[in-house]
Symmetry: C2
Subunit: 337 residues, 2 copies
DNA sequence: TTGAAAGCGCTAACAC
DNA sequence: GTGTTAGCGCTTTCAA
């Protein structure tokens, strides 16, 4: 392993000059730049990460900005991943502060303003509310630190990173799984269990993907029924909704609500497919009421997000912009605690 | 962040003494041990990884010992993961040498003997052949370096690490997926595409798991047919084998062979479920001939294996012994390039 | 049983 | 533009 010192010797310059060249700090003659770069190339010089970071001696502080998880179980999951990463990179001088917003746009805005006044070396956040997130992102970008978004994608081709799901594709997959298990001329219920303004773009993309699967499959002659199950902020379910229904698709994490109703009312032979490994969902998966859960791997989103920041800041590695998580199909049989 | 030097100051001893205590090198009075340990506890001292490794200045060499992958496409996959890890940990002074054996026990034995004569700081290997692997493992253990096994598990409760699949459970899952798509009174073909002595314990566990799913489901009245498709070392397939067959289960990575036959002979409406994301399997998955592929994540097995060694050697972290990979269900709709 | 000190390779401040 | 050097925190050797 060749070192800066040796390169300097070979080039007949001082280590300081080599350092300047490596880090593009300027103030070096082009001649020396060429000589040193050639030597670096030739000997395959690689920065010694230990020495580099020891000398650099910088602590990195990251802000994590997510919905409050004591209100929504789902949001515990990315936190687990983030905490795992925090533990792992903690001894590398990597620290995380947590900021939470209530699941409404006002709270998001208020906390976002607070965050903008603080200085961090990196940011990870979930842009649930499109417009508010966009302006927050615009402002934060000016700080010129790496920004990672998880869960929802608000902009393409931006100078930021996104880690999350392909919502449309999960809808398509759900449809495939359902169609696999039902006969021709079946009826499918698409159950929307969300208040009107909780219906995010992810939600809509899922539903769109779901329908798209059946577009060229008229021979299946599927009958679709769409019901919004929340009325006046409350769950509203009746047996009649399930008359002649063969399968139910729930495009958010609340499939356990339907499963519970079906169990309690002994409605037989209805397939359920939903999202996310919430405790209650898992419960009904194990009992056999929910057939499939689509997992968008929220823990991994959090973990990978922090890992990206670590790689960028500590290891100074560049990486690809967007990561779409694999879409995981969970059944009773491949669920691992 | 408190340092060794500061601890030493507080304890009125030299940094050398603190170091001796931290590393249990002995030659310190009990009194000092207690004082220093109390201070470490109190101030939450944590080793600075950068300084530690810089001073330690050790390069780690790892031996990887796997089946030759130009003979078996499947074995390319763990290599990808291993190479990814190698790249990632390369600047941490982590180097890998590769040793390959032909997929027969003699070649394994010969190469194993060679390996036993060499000295490495860690080993990752795939114990395909049970007895030979066991005695190799026994010998290598004497070297007292960490050993990781991937793919197949030959011993439980050993002082080594295993990363791989729960083969039985994948069989069970396959059965569930098949049963989801077929009617009562269906016929399932279990196609064995392997030479007699290529039938590993993993293969058998999968088949066992598959049958076990149907054990308490007599009402389905499934008719099973088991055929060994290799005759005299060659694939032997006839249309008659598929008479009245509704679904085919192939418990190894060669489902594309059946898919190809079904395609070429226009046999309609036969579900196929197989294993592993080989190029040819993916091809028939995309075309719709293969319905499901079970992925045992070989890349990740390799990647995680090396990561474990890195954590153990460089970061000096302990970790849990065995990791069972999640069983991934791949369909046309959730396959990502 | 303990202390002192060199050195791991790099960064960055300072002097010229 | 360039060279010199202190210092990051830890490991390890040598001397006492």
């Amino acid at each position: 392993m060749i070192t800066i010192k040796k390169i300097a010797e070979l080039a007949n310059v001082s280590p300081g000059t080599v350092d300047r060249i490596i880090h593009n700090r300027g103030q070096v003659t082009q001649e020396n730049i060429d000589i040193v770069n050639a030597l670096i190339e030739k000997h395959g010089y690689k920065r010694n990460i230990f020495a580099s970071n020891l000398a650099f001696n910088k602590k990195f502080r990251i802000a994590v900005f997510l919905p409050k998880h004591n209100e929504l179980e789902y949001w515990k999951l990315p936190i687990y991943g983030i905490e795992k990463a925090e533990k792992e990179y903690g001894n590398f001088g990597f620290f995380i502060d947590y900021y939470y917003y209530k699941y409404d746009s006002n709270s998001f805005k208020k906390n976002a303003e607070k965050l903008l006044k603080l200085d961090y070396d990196g940011l990870l956040f979930a842009p649930i509310f499109h417009n508010e997130s966009l302006s927050f992102l615009n402002e934060y970008t000016k700080k010129n630190v790496p920004i990672i978004m998880i869960d929802s994608n608000i902009v393409e081709n931006y100078n930021q990173y996104y880690i999350g799901q392909d919502a449309y594709q999960t809808g398509l997959l759900s449809a495939k799984l359902i169609s696999y298990g039902i006969k021709k001329n079946s009826s499918i219920l698409i159950a929307k269990i969300a208040k009107e303004n909780d219906i995010t773009s992810i939600f809509n993309q899922r539903v769109k993907g779901f329908y798209s699967y059946f577009e060229n499959k008229n021979e299946l002659n599927i009958n679709f029924k769409e019901i919004n199950i929340i009325k006046n902020g409350k769950v509203y379910l009746t047996k009649e909704m399930f008359n002649d229904i063969d399968a139910v698709y729930i495009p958010n994490s609340r499939s356990y609500i339907v499963a519970k109703f079906i169990k309690n009312n002994n409605l037989p032979n209805i397939r359920i497919i939903g999202y996310d490994l919430l405790q209650q969902n898992i419960e009904y998966l194990k009992l056999g009421y929910i057939d499939f859960l689509i997992n968008q791997k929220p823990e991994e989103q959090g973990y990978i997000g922090i890992t990206k920041l670590y790689k960028k800041l500590v290891l100074k590695e560049e990486s690809n912009k967007n990561i779409y998580m694999p879409i995981e199909i969970i059944t009773k049989e491949n669920w691992i605690e």
